[in-house]
Amino acid sequence: MTTTTELTELSETTLLRFATAGSVDDGKSTLVGRLLHDSKSILSDQLEAVERASASRGQDTPDLALLTDGLRAEREQGITIDVAYRYFATPKRRFILADTPGHVQYTRNMVTGASTAELTVILIDARNGVVEQTRRHAALAALLRVPHVVLAVNKMDLVDYQESVFAAIAEEFTAYALELGVPEITAIPISALAGDNVVDPSANMDWYGGPTFLEHLETVPVTHDLSHCHARLPVQYVIRPQTAEHPDYRGYAGQIAAGSFRVGESVTVLPSGHASRIAGIDLLGVAVDIAYTTQSVTVLLEDDIDISRGDLIVPSKDAPPTTQDVEATVCHVADAPLTVGHRVLLKHGTRTVKAIVKDIPSRLTLDDLSLHPHPGQLVANDIGRVKIRTAEPLPVDSYADSRRTGSFILIDPNDGTTLTAGMVGESFASPEPVKDEAEDDGWDF
């Protein structure tokens, strides 16, 4: 019987968004299936449906991949086509898992999953160690600046649970990822198939003293350190009731993209540069003195100035520069290529502006981080550097400083296709520049 105290605790847990990355045979589906199964997140009717479907396909044991392959075509072909989102909870935390396919078009899928993730799981087959694919995943995690990376060294049962095998892989990976600037790496030896260290601690690996995979997910911090954030509020919508009760109410609604705002603070509206002071903050019906990142708020200002959707409210003493020349690392996500001279729309925060691709100076090979100069175009799943000229000045941050105000998407103005995911500024948070062959080109990979 659940008590009221437990119910209260249940509603006061935190939310962790994480993404998986793994290639075809690393056992990603098994890990996801094991995690859901052992944390008792699969309900009996779902399991029965899988058993029924497996039996009708002539399989002796339930195929847990059927739990996650939601589309007819996926089940028929036995492959995962697209990112799926899964939900589970423990008494400590609730989880949103972006389950990204390993096969097809993995770069754009991993970018999609990682863009909202606070943690990425990179899976390795213990028998194979760090391979090209692992380095790609690490590079993407670094590029997307996912705050936490877990290296799950899987299939430990197939290497006799040897500590030396795990230690060597963990060391090689950590050295590589640190060089890329991945801020935090946790390596965990597991067997997804046998269930070692996924939810329950393994009796086969006494030498491992760290948390199980689930324990780590439950305890990794999802807090934000305010002292390192530039406060940013993209204005989504202007709320003007114009009723007898609220004749003069004029509120600027938006979700705080970074940092915090407080009543009385001097603020500047970009790109216009108008200044005012925060007269009040309305947190969905409750007046508050201070509001934080990811809260959706309505801000009231002391002065009646011209503000509309697409503007950015920032502290006057901490305003980003505005520019019409954006340099960024991009991942091309559409099937049609991106070329120099391409006329596009750029959506940044709540603002969508016309833009033109002025130059594609280089394409990045994720395997070895080498640069291919002036590739002429970027095709689906390519990552490259791009110079874009916008029709109006934009207040952009570096993606390193702010994942929300340093990111943008490019959209095809003809058919609305999402073309490209963009990250402004330097690519990798590397403490020292990673060696490459094209240093004289001035690129910062």
């Binding site: 075509a73 899928n109 305010l226 002292s227 969905l284 201070i290």
Partner: protein, 313 residues
């Protein structure tokens, strides 16, 4: 780029902080409502009087307060609704001064455009009235209360989901969704289905209802009801064609986990009379919401995917 980090805030705000999961989900949903209000011409909220659409309406009201919500409501009336739910719908419309559009399945059957199925299940018949209403009213954004945790095809759904001029969903041609930068571009005739509750689970919805003190139709709480059994579910007798001669009714204490067409929405045995009871019951349940009470999803392994492809919500 600026690299210096200014300590701009007072001491008490330097401590790390984090939103509770409900606050995080609420904030995200509000963000989605405001994006649609900012970018679309004629948005509408699908409103059935069920708990998910009631939560959507509550979130929309909060998102634009103290102004009225800039959306109308649309109900696809199957003709086999629970009277308590229709009554709730009309009261909500009245209280918030909203405009309600109704697309009626019964009209289509009466006009001979749609044919009643032998089993009397009307859920699949909703698609045509819905999609024709969207076209006729030129709605360009249609909010649905669908959640990705409901069903494996819905787990693949985007928050902003583009539909073609036939309202069709093509899961292989979805736009990648990056950060919180939703792409609402669409051509005339196309529309976007928007799912602000994508990341909510059934338990989140109930916890939020409890926290916000949101009123629900009574059928969500345990009550005595005349029911009969079909395909392992307790169904309520009604004009839609149940019970058949070999089915007998009995009085049981039940409640509903979902609200849909009476012909295919089952009740569960329950003693849960308060919100806390309901939350406790759901937290302990070994059955999903749809597995327990929706006949139409048991029709085939891809039932939901097939309906969604045709334009179902």
């Amino acid at each position: 780029m600026t690299t210096t980090v200014a300590k701009t805030h007072g001491g008490e705000t330097d401590a790390p902080y984090t939103l509770s999961h409900l606050d995080a989900l609420e904030s995200e949903a509000v963000h989605i409502f405001r994006e649609v209000a900012g970018e679309f011409e004629r948005p509408v909220i699908l409103f059935s009087g069920g708990k998910d659409s009631i939560v959507m309406l509550h979130l929309a009201l909060k998102a634009f307060a103290p102004a009225a919500i800039p959306f109308t409501l649309l109900h696809v009336d199957t003709g086999h609704n629970f009277p308590e739910v229709l009554e709730y719908r009309d009261r909500a419309v009245e209280r918030h001064g909203l405009r309600l559009h109704v697309a009626s399945v019964q009209d289509y059957i009466d006009r001979g455009v749609l044919k009643e199925r032998p089993d009397g299940v009307r859920n699949p018949l909703q698609t045509l009235p819905l999609t024709e209403k969207i076209q006729a009213e030129k709605f360009d954004a249609v909010f649905g209360g669908g959640r990705r945790d409901e069903e494996k095809a819905r787990a693949k759904e985007r928050v902003f989901s583009l539909r073609d001029e036939f309202s069709q969903w093509d899961p292989r041609r979805q736009r990648p969704e990056l950060w919180n930068l939703y792409n609402g571009r669409h051509a005339p005739g196309e529309h976007v289905r928007v799912f602000p509750l994508s990341n909510w689970t059934e338990l989140d919805v109930w916890q939020y209802i409890a926290r916000e003190g949101i009123e629900l139709p009574d059928i969500y709480f345990a009550h005595e009801r005349e029911v009969f059994q079909r395909a392992g579910m307790w169904l309520t007798a009604g004009e839609w064609g149940g019970p058949k001669s070999d089915e007998t009714t009995q009085k049981r204490q039940v409640r509903y986990r979902t609200v849909g067409d009476m012909s295919c929405t089952g009740a569960v045995d329950s003693d849960a009379v308060t919100l806390d009871d309901v939350i406790t019951e759901i937290a302990a349940s070994r059955l999903t919401e749809r597995g327990a009470t929706r006949a139409d999803d048991k029709l085939s392994e891809a039932a939901m995917e097939d309906r969604k492809r045709e334009g179902y919500f």
